[in-house]
Structure formats: structure tokens, C-alpha cells
């Protein structure tokens, strides 16, 4: 019996039904839903009882629209032409909005919406995620809807729009580019959709989880005392978008929950700390735009969370006169979301939960894993807390054994080297280098740089030429001031990525955190070179190579001979040599 047949059909009772995990249709569940289905019983049976009454652990109530309806939707509305065309994302999205959902689906959606008045997350769950056992993190859309309108017709319309938007995202440019980097084609892809309650609490016009997190069972950047096998956890206030898309989080090793993240200074820590958070906007949206993923979510300030009474469980205060962080928020001063009451004073046993959870997931999937979750706290005492398990993905890690000595990093013909390299293995086929011109780069132009990079990426992917990509600041940041705000689809042809800090910037490098999953699953080598490193990039040699394309901010050179690239995954050393 396939996994989806193990779950009850949606009986038109979302919260009040006997089952909290239901399916609509007979198709595939897709990767995301499959992962949740695998873990659901184990979580609720094995993990949850030991944590009660302090934390209630569960997969939030959900129903999965299986891929059968995606196929019907495409066929009944003749959408294959527009989906495979070169139409812009907004044109694809509008064409999908104009189409009608299959008649046998809309009744279930209507029944669901008539009884549910709280926010819903409409998430993608693609079959290739499942088939490849690979993450398509952030490739397809997730849309949150407040679902609090009095009128059921409006709520229904917003849900239908969200489902169609997720369907359309299967054919957005980034998704197509991403797929091209795999052995699959668009024809292989089918989309299931998860409709899931949003874990959170309403505070006025905001609805948000008090804590969101991403926990990984293996840490590729074990700094300080941390060990790789202890994993790494990123926490943030509000929706998980802050961690996944903005790259802002409080990071710690589950082995040392009390240790602060390894920033160079308190200034750095403060500069990188969370200052805003994402929440579902329960008020009227700023604009009606069914083809905008963020239509119903907004950023709010920490002051808002403090007014909501939440910060006292998760924040400390910076005391300027002593230049130090003091626990609690009784004093006035800038707040620092460091989760001290939980991680340092064990207000709730979150760290124990995460350690056990990662182990359970690893044991079940037989792979290193990445887990996403969201929590709410009791507004009076913090406990009991509610822990919503949102997603589990396997991490793909190379098994090859490469040894790289320090001497090799300083040897002849080195184009670049790093002791913070991610990946493991040897590459000897790359002849194309795309790099951001150091003399031209300025954070004020980072969005233009992203656009130029995308323009170069597409033809290289088409030609099947993997390339080395070199740029400045944090790759994939949503803050254009902190680096180059690309998504992975825009640079998906890069097989090796170097992020280099400019000397005058204080921004910490991302060390691949934005594209962590993408680069590990596609086995992309990722080099971080900070200003304090003894290794640099040989710009002179690069500039001496013949340019294939030379745009305002970016240069693409094609080398006469392939580069020799090695990364030692155990030591984090990597080197790129030319002939």
C-alpha cells in the first residue's frame, strides 16, 4: 500500500475531524507531504509523550491536494502551452489565475473554508522532491492567507487563488532553471499542495509563531567547540521566512545551546541580530495581488512583538553604558532576540526536543536531515508551548575522500583558496568563470548585479557549461545592502561559488547558509573568503583572460583549459588552480 493510501480522505472536517492529516485525491503526496507523513506517527507516538506537559508536539492540521488535481487542472484548462512558453512569471501566474480548479476539488475546498477562520499556509509539495529525495527548497511558492474574512466567499476565493499560485510557481523561471540543472524536465514535475494551519497566535493585526526554526543534523561550519555531528539550529521570531529567505537567525549548536553565535564582536552580533519579523497580516492587504507570494504577510518591528508581550520569553537587552547584553527586557534599551530564557535558562526544553527530533528523523530517513518548525508559547508563563513540525528534508553529502594540505592552498597557480570551503571532492571540468568586477562592485548596485548574473546564467545552463561564480557579500540575501540578492534559480548553473567580503564592509559572509540545501544537494562547492583570510583571489590573472561577455558589473571569461578544483570536506579547505 502506498503511503498516501495510509491516510484518510478529507471528510470535509478540517479541525473537527478525527484525523489531522488527510488527503484529497488519489495521486502522489509530493516530497514535502511525504516527509510529514513519514514522521507524523513517530513524532506523535514516540517523541510527544516525553515532552508533555511542557511542550505539545504535533504536525499541524493539514490536508494534501494530491497531484491528480494538478494534472487535471493543467489538462482541463489547456495550460501546458503557457507553462512551457517563455512567458514571464507574472504572465504564467495570471493565466493560471484565470483557469478553473477541477470540479471534484472545489467542493472540498469550499467545505474546508466554510468552517476554518484562521490563517492557512498553502504550500507546494512536488513529486520530484520526493522522487529525487532532493530538496527544492524555496524553488516553489508558499502562500499564506489570513482567512479571517467574515464572508466565506472571500475566504474561498483567497484559498483558490493561493492554490493556483502554487500551481503556477511550478513553471516560474527560477523553477525551470533549477530543473535544468537536474536530469529532469518540466514534464516530470507534478505538484501536490498542502493546506495547513499556520502555527501561531493572533496579536491584533498580526498572526505569527513566537519561534520559528530550522535545525540540521550535521553542521558544515562547526565553529568554536561545536562538532559537526551535533548539528546546528537557527531560530527566529515570527514566520520562518526570516531564516529561510532573509538569512537572519540566532544560530547555535545543540551541543552548546548557551554559547552565542561566533561573531567577531558584540557590534557584529548586534548588527546581524533580528530587528524585524514576518507575520501574517490579518488586516486588509496593502494591495490586492493574487500573484504575489507575500500578499498577506508583512514585516513588523521588535517593538510590536514587545507590545504583544512575547519578547520577554525570547529576548535580552543591550546595555549601552556597559557595552554588554543583559538578560531579560526589564531595562530599557535595544532588544536582542537571543532566546536566552529558553536556551540559557531552559524555560522550555526546546533544545532537548530538537536533539531527540533530529535523531528520530535521521533514524527514520537514514540520512542527515533538515527540519523546519514553528512554536507558540503560553502568553502567561511560556509553557505549555506548542511545537508544530512543518517539514523534514534529507541532506545530501558527498562521500568522497579528498585530502588537501595547507601547502597546497599557498601553491603555484592558485586562483583562490579558502579554509571555509563547503563540499567535498575534485572537479576538473570547469572552463567558465563569471565574476563580479571588484572595481565596480558597490552594494547600491547589488540588484543590478543580480539581474546581470541571471542574464548570463541562462545561456550557460542551456549550453550545459557549469561555471565558477565569484561575487561579494552574502549570496542570496534579501537585503541588497548585505550582498547580492539572487535566488538560487538565477545562478543555478554555478558549480563552484565564491563569496568574498570587501574590506570596507562589516557584513558577515553567509557561508552558503542561504543556499545551504541547494548547494549541498547539487554538490556545489562553496568558498568563503573574508578580508582577514590569508588567501585571496588572483584578480590580475582573471582580468587577463579573454571575456566572452563583459557587462557593466559582471565579466564572463572562458579559459583555454579547465580549472582544477579540490575541496576537503573534513577540514573545510578548498583550492582552485589554473594551468
Amino acid at each position: 500500500m502506498s503511503l498516501q493510501h495510509a491516510f484518510k480522505l478529507f471528510d470535509r472536517r478540517f479541525f473537527t475531524g478525527a484525523e489531522k492529516f488527510t488527503v484529497i485525491g488519489r495521486g502522489s503526496l509530493g516530497g514535502k507531504a511525504h516527509g510529514l507523513a513519514l514522521m507524523k506517527d513517530i513524532l506523535e507516538g514516540q517523541l510527544a509523550p516525553s515532552l508533555r506537559p511542557e511542550i505539545e508536539v504535533a504536525v499541524p492540521t493539514l490536508t494534501v491536494i494530491t497531484t491528480e488535481f494538478f494534472e487535471l487542472f493543467m489538462r482541463q484548462n489547456d495550460l501546458f502551452d503557457v507553462a512551457s512558453s517563455s512567458a514571464r512569471d507574472d504572465q504564467v501566474a495570471i493565466a493560471f489565475q484565470r483557469a478553473s480548479l477541477p470540479p471534484q476539488l472545489v467542493g472540498d475546498l469550499r467545505a474546508l473554508i466554510e468552517q476554518v477562520h484562521t490563517p492557512l499556509a498553502v504550500r507546494s509539495s512536488s513529486v520530484l522532491e520526493d522522487a529525487m529525495f532532493e530538496p527544492f527548497a524555496s524553488v516553489y511558492a508558499t502562500k499564506m492567507i489570513p482567512n479571517n474574512q467574515v464572508d466565506a466567499d472571500t475566504r474561498f476565493r483567497k484559498l483558490v487563488e493561493a492554490v493556483k499560485f502554487v500551481y503556477a510557481s511550478t513553471f516560474f523561471k527560477d523553477a525551470k532553471n533549477y530543473l535544468q540543472a537536474t536530469v529532469h524536465t518540466m514534464n516530470d514535475e507534478k505538484m501536490a499542495v498542502i493546506i495547513q494551519e499556520v502555527v501561531g497566535v493572533r496579536h491584533g493585526q498580526r498572526f505569527y509563531p513566537h519561534i520559528s526554526g530550522v535545525a540540521r543534523s550535521y553542521n558544515f561550519y562547526p565553529l568554536g567547540l561545536a562538532k559537526p555531528a551535533e548539528g546546528i539550529v537557527n531560530l527566529a521570531l515570527g514566520l520562518g521566512k526570516t531564516i529561510v529567505d532573509d538569512g537572519v537567525a540566532w544560530s547555535y549548536s545543540p551541543g552548546y545551546p548557551q554559547a552565542n553565535p561566533p561573531y567577531n564582536s558584540l557590534d557584529d552580533l548586534l548588527a546581524q541580530a533580528q530587528r524585524e519579523f514576518w507575520a501574517v497580516n490579518m488586516d486588509l492587504p496593502l494591495e490586492y495581488n493574487p500573484i504575489k507570494e507575500n500578499e498577506h504577510i508583512m514585516k513588523f518591528s521588535l517593538q510590536d512583538a514587545e507590545n504583544d508581550g512575547i519578547l520577554r520569553f525570547i529576548a535580552s537587552t543591550y546595555r549601552a553604558q556597559d557595552d554588554k547584553i543583559v538578560y531579560g527586557i526589564t531595562e530599557s534599551g535595544p532588544r536582542v532576540v537571543d532566546f536566552a530564557p529558553i536556551l540559557k535558562f531552559d524555560l522550555i526544553p526546546l533544545n532537548r526536543l530538537l536533539k531527540e527530533l533530529l535523531k528520530l528523523c535521521e533514524d527514520t530517513l537514514q540520512k542527515m536531515v533538515e527540519v523546519e518548525f514553528a512554536m507558540t508559547l503560553d502568553e502567561g508563563r511560556g509553557t505549555p508551548a506548542r511545537f508544530g513540525f512543518l517539514q523534514v528534508r534529507p541532506m545530501v553529502v558527498s562521500e568522497a575522500n579528498v585530502e588537501l594540505s595547507l601547502a597546497e592552498l599557498m601553491g603555484k597557480n592558485v586562483l583562490a583558496a579558502s579554509e571555509s570551503a563547503l563540499g567535498n571532492g575534485v572537479l576538473g571540468s570547469i572552463q567558465d568563470v563569471v565574476y563580479v568586477k571588484p572595481e565596480k562592485f558597490n552594494v547600491h548596485h547589488s540588484e543590478a548585479v543580480a539581474s546581470e548574473l541571471e542574464g548570463l546564467n541562462y545561456p550557460l545552463v542551456e549550453e550545459g557549461r557549469p561555471y565558477l561564480l565569484i561575487g561579494f557579500g552574502r549570496w542570496g540575501t534579501s537585503d541588497p545592502q548585505a550582498g547580492i540578492p539572487v535566488n538560487f534559480g538565477q545562478i543555478c548553473g554555478a558549480k563552484v561559488i565564491i563569496e568574498s567580503a570587501l574590506p570596507e564592509t562589516s557584513t558577515m559572509l553567509s557561508q552558503g547558509s542561504h543556499f545551504f540545501h541547494n548547494i549541498t544537494s547539487f554538490k556545489v562547492f562553496y568558498f568563503s573568503i573574508s578580508p582577514s583570510d590569508k588567501y585571496t583571489i588572483d584578480w590580475g590573472w582573471l582580468n587577463g583572460q579573454n571575456a566572452v561577455h563583459d557587462t557593466e558589473f559582471v565579466r564572463h571569461v572562458r579559459l583555454p583549459a579547465p580549472l582544477k578544483i579540490k575541496v576537503d570536506g573534513r577540514t573545510g579547505r578548498g583550492v582552485i588552480c589554473h594551468d
Binding site: S100, L101, P103, Q104, G107, R110, A111, E114, F156, V160
Partner: protein, 428 residues
Amino acid sequence: MKNSVCNPFVTAQLQFDRTADWLGLDQSTRELLRVPLKEFHVLVPLRMDDGTVKVLQGYRVIHNDARGPAKGGIRFHPSETIDTIRALAMWMTWKCALMDIPLGGSSGGVACDPHDMRLREQERLCRNLVRALARNLGPWRDVPGPDIMTSAQHMLWMLDEYEALSGEKVPGSITGKPVGVGGSLGRKESTGYGIVFTLREALKELNVTPEDTTASVQGFGNVAQNAVRLFEQIGGKVTCVSCWDHHEATSYAYKKESGIDYEALAGITDRFGGIEKEKARLMGYEVLPGEAWLAQDVDILIPAAVENQLTEENVGAIRPRVKIIAEGANGPTTNEADKLIAGRGILVIPDILANAGGVTCSYFEQVQSNMNYYWEKDEVLGKLDVKMTSAFNTVLEFSRKKNLSMRDAAFIIAVARVVEACKDRGWV
């Protein structure tokens, strides 16, 4: 009127009498509801293209409008009788009440055969009929819609004539209009889809998955086609459909054990639901006499043609495997046949429930037309599904609680609602 088993009005009155007995209705209420409130018998002179004039007999019957403006189809059929129209109007009253939509019941028709008429003649017929009835039509009086052998085009001609007479745009005065001229998305599919929505719920109740079922369908017009299409989409297999062959004035059944190919068969079907026999044969269909649809070894029968098709004489042909009869047509089962079927433990989804998708969507169209604001198809069909499912569950629950057949339960719920409205208004 003749007291014949084939007279649908007799069938309808017997159904009402049984229901009235169960409810213990008083005499005056029975007298009010046993016959129509109003009847219009009109002669419709029609000038043909060859210059001759035919005088056609037309009817419009309002059975009861206590719950709201009357609603009912207009059909063009050569063997149309006032008793058929009376029965249809009465069933429409119950159907609207059962679906809990604020409408009364009516019906109308003209004794004619549109197959023998050119389009311009049909247009003149529609306009002439509206001129004859106009004073009693309108969005707040009586709202016609399409029925057998009348289409969206006919409705648009009627609307155009009505608006010309009333001197204003009144899109809510007729339903079943073409989309873009006041019609509702989903209207065309609504009756057929509604049948399948209730069928799906019945299968759940019997703990049978659609994938494990086969069906035989009488008729291949708009209702049957959409029912077949959606039934296939939810996983079921249709192995036989029948239709009326206008040229040979007889019906044929088209059978394929492996399951009919809906798209291919629809491609060789005329606008009245007639399948091209020779082409079907070439496509591998076994061509059988029309009544063979009933004798198929299937799980589900869907009579979706006309009245009085399941009779005392032919129900014996129903195979033991049949578990469900979903009545897509109005009054397809005579009272005698109904008793025999009930004795065999077959779950019957009665017509006033199974085919109520059409009138429900007509109501949605009226609402949209009166607002002049139109919904997306998802919204129409989503509401339709919920309404149908909810009505099915109400009937099922009541039938279980009171140990009644689905038909009796449906009639009792519906009649009780109409009685309540009549009493609230102080009519009885």
C-alpha cells in the same frame, strides 16, 4: 386527466399523498399543494419560413411560490402534455425546498419538435411564447430556464424579447443564458456534476470506492454527458450509454465493456445528445436496443433521459449487481417500479435530490444576474458541491433516523419546508 401509471402527474400526486399522510397534513394544505397554484394555457401561433402558420399549444404552470419566485424549465417536446408540466412544476417546488433555496416551483413547455424547425422558426417561437406569458414572468414572479430540447440560445431569445417588452435589462428573468450574456459559469455542467456529487456521497455511504464501480447511463444529452465526464474523473467507469436516434425514431444503447471513451463519443454526438450509430460501431461500440442500458451488469444506473423509464414491466431486467440508482432525469421511476426497486435493497438517489444541481446553479445564476456581478467557475461549482453534499447528508440522515427510503425522506423534508412557508404566510 387519465389515471395512468405513465402519467407523471399521477406519479407526483401519489408521491405527495404518501408524504402528506406521513406528515399528517390537514385537508386544506393537501388541497393547496396537490395541484398547481396557477396554470397558463396559451396558443402560440408560429409563422413558418414557408409562410404557413402553425398554432402550437404552450403551457406555464406555477405549482407553488410560497418560498420565493417560481423557477422551472421550458421544454419543447412533441409529446408535451399539461400533466407532464404539472408534475415537473410540483417536483421543482420540492426540489428547491429540498435544496433549501428560496424559490418556488414552476414548469412550462410547448408541444413541438425543434428538430423539424429552422433556427429562425425556433427564435420566433421563443419570442411568441414570451409575448404570451410575459405578464406573469420576471425575476420576482417566475423565472424560466432551459429543459429538454431548449438551449442557452433559446433562453437568450426569450430574455431579449422579455427585455424588449419590459423596456429594461432584466438578466435575472431567465436562467441558462450563455456565459457572457448573463449566464453563469458552471451552469452547463451543474446538473450532471450534481448527480455525481450525490453519487460520490452514496458510494462513501456504501463504503465503495468509485474506482471499483461501473455505471450504465440512459441518455447522452448535456446532463448525461457531464455526469459521465465527472464520474470518470472521480475514478468510475461507464460501460454503456443509450440515446434517442431522431432519424430512426428509436433509442439505441452503446456498450463497451472496457469503458466508453467520453471525449470520443461526445465528438460523434449531435446537440440533442444523439450518437452517430455507424461511427460508434466503427469505434468498437456494441450497438444494442435502447432498453439494454437497464440490463447491464453494473454497479450504478443513471437514468438521465425522460420520465417513466423504470416501470413495473422492465425493472426485472435490473441485474443483481446494481447497488445505486441515481435519478438524473425527472420522474424516471414509476411508483410501482419504485416499490419493486426498494424491495431489492438498491439505494435510490431520488430525482429531486440527484438532479437538483441544475436548479441550484440556476439560482446562483439568478443571484448573479440580479446583482450583475458574476462569479468564477470555482466559486460556482464549490458552492454547488457543498449544497448538494449537504442536502444528500440531510436526506440520508433523516432516512436512517426514520427508517425511510431516500425518496420518502427527501419528499418529507421538502414538503415540510413548503408547508411551513405556506403556514407562515397564513395561506392555510
